[in-house]
């Protein structure tokens, strides 16, 4: 139920209603981006963002740097340092 899927914003369909096209594993979907827009990150800046999509809404941006930190930490814990990209 709380399922969410990562996708990337391709373009803005309707800036007034905050609708954007998101590619989810290659499948295009129209998604509401109200939750990821604010003064510091206006509608136009959202193109290219990776987001988590849940019931037709982009709920949050996915932070690439944090994702990498998590993987690095993981590989250190798991003693897989050699294979860290």
């Amino acid at each position: 139920m709380c399922l969410g899927i990562p996708g990337q914003i391709l373009d803005i369909i309707d800036p007034q209603h905050l609708l954007a096209t998101v590619s989810i594993g290659g499948v295009k979907r129209s998604v509401n981006i109200a939750c990821i827009v604010d003064e510091d990150h206006p509608v136009d800046a959202c193109v290219g963002d990776w987001v988590l999509v849940h019931v037709g809404f982009a709920m949050n941006r996915i932070d690439a740097e944090d994702a990498q930190i998590t993987l690095t930490m993981l590989d250190e814990i798991a003693e897989l340092n050699a294979m860290t990209q």
């Binding site: 139920m1 849940h54 709920m59």
Partner: protein, 394 residues
């Protein structure tokens, strides 16, 4: 797919599993899970999405015997009480109404039938992917009343709140919500207040937390002394989070940690929280299937938006329907029993005709055990007895 494959990498999973074994062996003497204790360590994954992933990837079987995963109340479909389902069916039977909802809810039994059965008998019930689709149906059918049967935790509440705000902005008057949103932390506190509690730590729900943040779990660490690690949903995420809980226990720390920082901020998402605060208010109490009434655990529509509240617009009977007597869901959710210890598991209670909450959706603990063949952990089911995998497996 980016942000998915790297967290499903088998080598990473193997590596972290070895470290889980190593750290579990360091649990201090007398501590649950140590050789001198009479019980394993019990770590609860709160979210039904985690429960489903744990069984889909067979993670529970890969863990050392000293670590037991307990499956929490975080499946909003499972915990919907029969009385609320009956109310939704009453709404759907009103010829003026088009009832819209997520597909997961359709098969959940009310006291005498499910929404699917009501639909077969002629009720106008439509499955939507998003609450925005329900609003579109309302705009397309100005002569009908369109009700969205809203369920879900804090993950889903912002989307329905934003849909109500959009309906208000567009002046749509034939749209309303039957609001059944529930809150995670009050449910956990209800579990933690039980006298026979046997839980040692929590894997926190990642997608609820991307809305509310990691901070609200501090009460669990501070007041109840249980570590919490907010976790992502891929197998490597879940294993890493489990290692982080064990690391806290072994090093004598008790705090809230965030494994899912790629999506979860300390204070959550301000836009999403703002929409919830504007449109909803907290109910004094809400009934949970399997757990009973829990104070301050559900949301209702704020009086300012009463025109969008189906509970105001329509008169609903609000019946109270008791859980089935044989059901052991409460004990399962508290970690006292495993599904196979329930007398009716897999016999009178199956995913096709569930008696209790945990069997209702593929995210419930009993359904996960049943669908993935865990009919008895000590005596694995013969292949012929293994039911086919759930078609709704994700």
């Amino acid at each position: 797919m980016k942000y998915v494959h790297e967290f499903r990498d088998p080598q990473r999973a193997q590596g972290i599993l070895r470290q889980i074994e190593a750290i579990a062996a360091q649990l201090p003497p007398g501590f649950p899970g140590s050789p001198s204790s009479d019980r394993p360590l019990r770590i609860m994954e709160i979210c039904g999405g985690h429960t489903h992933a744990i069984f889909k990837y067979g993670l529970a079987d890969l863990l050392p015997d000293s670590v037991d995963l307990i499956h929490g109340p975080g499946c909003p479909v499972c915990i919907m009480p029969k009385g609320r389902l009956d109310d939704a069916i009453t709404l759907a039977q009103n010829p003026q109404v088009i009832l819209t909802t997520f597909g997961d809810v359709l098969r959940v039994p009310g006291s005498s039938q499910s929404l699917l059965q009501a639909k077969a008998k002629g009720a106008d019930i439509r499955v939507v992917y998003s609450p925005l689709d329900a609003l579109q149906i309302a705009i397309a059918h100005p002569d009908r009343e369109v009700v969205f049967f809203a369920i879900g935790f804090e993950t889903t509440a912002p989307s329905t709140a934003l849909t109500v705000l959009q309906a208000a902005a567009q002046g749509v008057s034939n749209f309303s919500l039957f609001c059944n949103h529930v809150l995670v932390v009050p449910a956990l506190e209800a579990l933690l207040n039980q006298p026979d509690l046997q839980l040692d730590g929590f894997i926190g729900p990642g997608h609820v937390s991307m809305v509310i943040g990691a901070r609200p779990y501090q009460v669990i660490a501070e007041r109840y002394g249980k570590p919490v690690v907010v976790s992502g949903f891929e197998p490597v995420d879940i294993l890493q989070s489990l290692w982080m809980v064990l690391d806290q226990l072994v090093t004598g720390r008790c705090t809230v940690e965030n494994q899912y920082s790629r999506l979860v901020a300390e204070d959550g998402n301000p836009v999403a929280l703002g929409a919830i605060a504007q449109v909803f208010t907290v109910r004094e109490q809400f009934e949970w299937r399997g757990l009973g009434e829990i104070p301050a655990s559900g949301l209702r529509i704020h009086p300012d938006y009463a025109q969008f509240d189906a509970e105001v617009k329509f008169s609903l009977p609000h019946p109270h329907v008791d859980d089935h007597r044989a059901c052991a869901c409460g004990d399962i959710l508290r970690g006292v029993k495993k599904p196979w210890e329930c007398k009716v598991f897999g016999t009178a209670c199956t995913p096709d005709s569930p008696l209790g909450a945990c069997m209702v959706s593929s995210e419930g603990a009993c359904a996960a055990y049943y669908n993935y063949g865990q009919l008895d952990r000590r005596r694995p089911a013969a292949p012929s007895a293994v039911p086919s995998h759930s078609s709704s497996a994700r």
